[in-house]
Amino acid sequence: MSPGPGTEDRPEWTADEMMTVAASRQLRDGTACFVGIGLPSTAANLARATHAPNLVLIYESGCLGAKPDRLPLSIGDGILADTAESVVSVPEVFNYWLQPGRIDVGFLGAAQLDRLGNLNTTVIGGSYEDPKVRLPGAGGAPEIAASCREVVVVVRQTPRTFVDTVDFVTSVGYGRGPGDRERLGLRGGGPRLVITDLGVLEPDPDSLELTLTRLHPGATVAQARAATGWPLAVSDDLVTSDPPTDVELTALRALTATLGARA
């Protein structure tokens, strides 16, 4: 993990903290966000604790408008039900809330991602029947990717993750390119941002290819290229992310401290 600015052995923040802060900044107050566990959940709860107190968190366990005061370990942690505006069945979450396009932002992670934002959480290597690595599978991701107004992907940038071709399309980004989402009948807008520990990628307006538009402080284009399994396009208007503020870091560390039981 590359440290944020500071001295060599005492970083002021970690790359993961920068990634989580960058993700939380993307969540606008008052919007509805479909939250997965892990980094997305941390980022969404950080947003609630800082600039977006009225962010509506929706967990696929059926908790709508959850307001946990500590990080949940899982999407079905009792604190989500205890603090939710409403707890509904799982069929209801998917059929009434997600499928019709009522959710503004879907937050997704992935084991593999390609240059058009297609995501794999199913198998890596070998064949589907006889894979090298069996991953958890789809869960809610295919429909989140299909139906949320926009998708934000949060994932660490490595050559193993950022691959030329995903081994399995679990969730569709831009498919094979412009026009593909429309042809497939996917109503949501697709991946608007990919936030990593090195920077931020956004789809090129014409080709939809993920392009590096932002570097986190301390990260370099060479580092980002080395961590990407395709020739990474870099925006002419490449900018540097604002470093985490004291307020953001304090809130984030207070939140992660609540997750004592996690490995």
Binding site: G78, L135, A261
Partner: protein, 272 residues
């Protein structure tokens, strides 16, 4: 009318080798004790069905109870991978495990169709993914009114569904609340059902957000206090997060796993 039975009798009567069995629970109210009883009774060749096979399915798979798994997300929630599930898929240990893989929306709708007495469900999903290529039970269908291309999935009708709930009365009416997942749909979709409960009471006090499964849709009820541990039963117990984290280490190695199962499941009788 549901009969009140012991856990051992309920499993012996309702779960047979080769059955399609759903033990549902969405993080909350997972029927661990019932799963352990299935392992103790040595059931084989089961088709296990569940949206989120987690630690209890890792245990059933690792102990060789299952030949097929129908699912949408197999992991240790908030922790990582299921090592026994992975070992079965990647190395056929202890036996080969065939997969039928869906998304959550697909699985939820398969139960809804089963509970609704319909042959299939329609959803807007799966298009553009590789899932339909590997799962024959996902088909394209066009809307008869607009021609829009949608997806159909067949109804899921388990031979038996097992769920855990907070309580039942002596007539076998079951009350559950909190995160209710797909438990109601899974019970209504099944041919037979077993509900383990924290307690059997004389009278069910109404609770906000409760789901009632009336006695006449449930086959049997067994009183099993703590039957969802290490998951939780809202109002009765909290989730044992340390267990889920610890399972990662226990399940990583085949021998360690076997020893743990012998000590904590096989050598332990029914929780009573």
């Amino acid at each position: 009318m549901a009969r009140i039975v012991s856990l051992a009798d309920g499993i012996a009567e309702l779960v047979s080798d080769g059955d399609v069995v759903a033990l549902e629970g969405f993080t909350h109210l997972i029927p661990f004790a019932a799963g352990h009883e299935i392992i103790r009774q040595g059931r084989r060749d089961l088709t296990l069905v569940r949206m989120t096979p987690d630690v209890i399915y890792d245990q059933l798979i690792g102990m060789g109870c299952a030949s097929h798994l129908v699912f949408s997300w197999g992991g240790n929630p908030g922790v990582g991978s299921l090592h026994r599930f992975r070992d079965a898929v990647q190395n056929s240990w202890p036996t080969r495990l065939e997969l039928e893989e869906h998304s959550h929306a697909g699985m939820a709708n398969r139960y809804v169709a089963g509970a609704s007495g319909l042959p299939f469900a329609v959803l807007r999903g799966y298009t553009g993914t590789d899932l339909p290529r590997h799962t024959p039970n996902i088909k394209a269908i066009s809307c008869p009114f607009t021609g829009e291309l949608l997806t159909a999935v067949p109804a899921l009708r388990p031979d038996v569904t097992v769920v855990h709930a907070q309580r039942a009365d002596r007539a076998g009416n079951v009350q559950l609340w909190g995160i209710t997942g797909v438990q109601k749909e899974a019970v209504l979709a099944a041919h037979r059902s077993l509900v383990t409960v924290e307690e059997v009471v004389d009278r069910l006090e109404p609770v906000p957000g409760q789901v009632i499964l009336p006695s006449w849709v449930v086959t049997a009820v067994a009183e099993v206090p703590g039957g969802s541990h290490p998951s939780y039963a809202q109002g009765y117990s909290v989730r044992d997060n340390d267990f889920y984290v610890g399972w990662d280490e226990i399940s990583r190695d085949r021998d360690t796993f076997r020893q743990w199962m012998e000590r904590h499941v096989l050598e332990v009788g029914e929780l009573e």
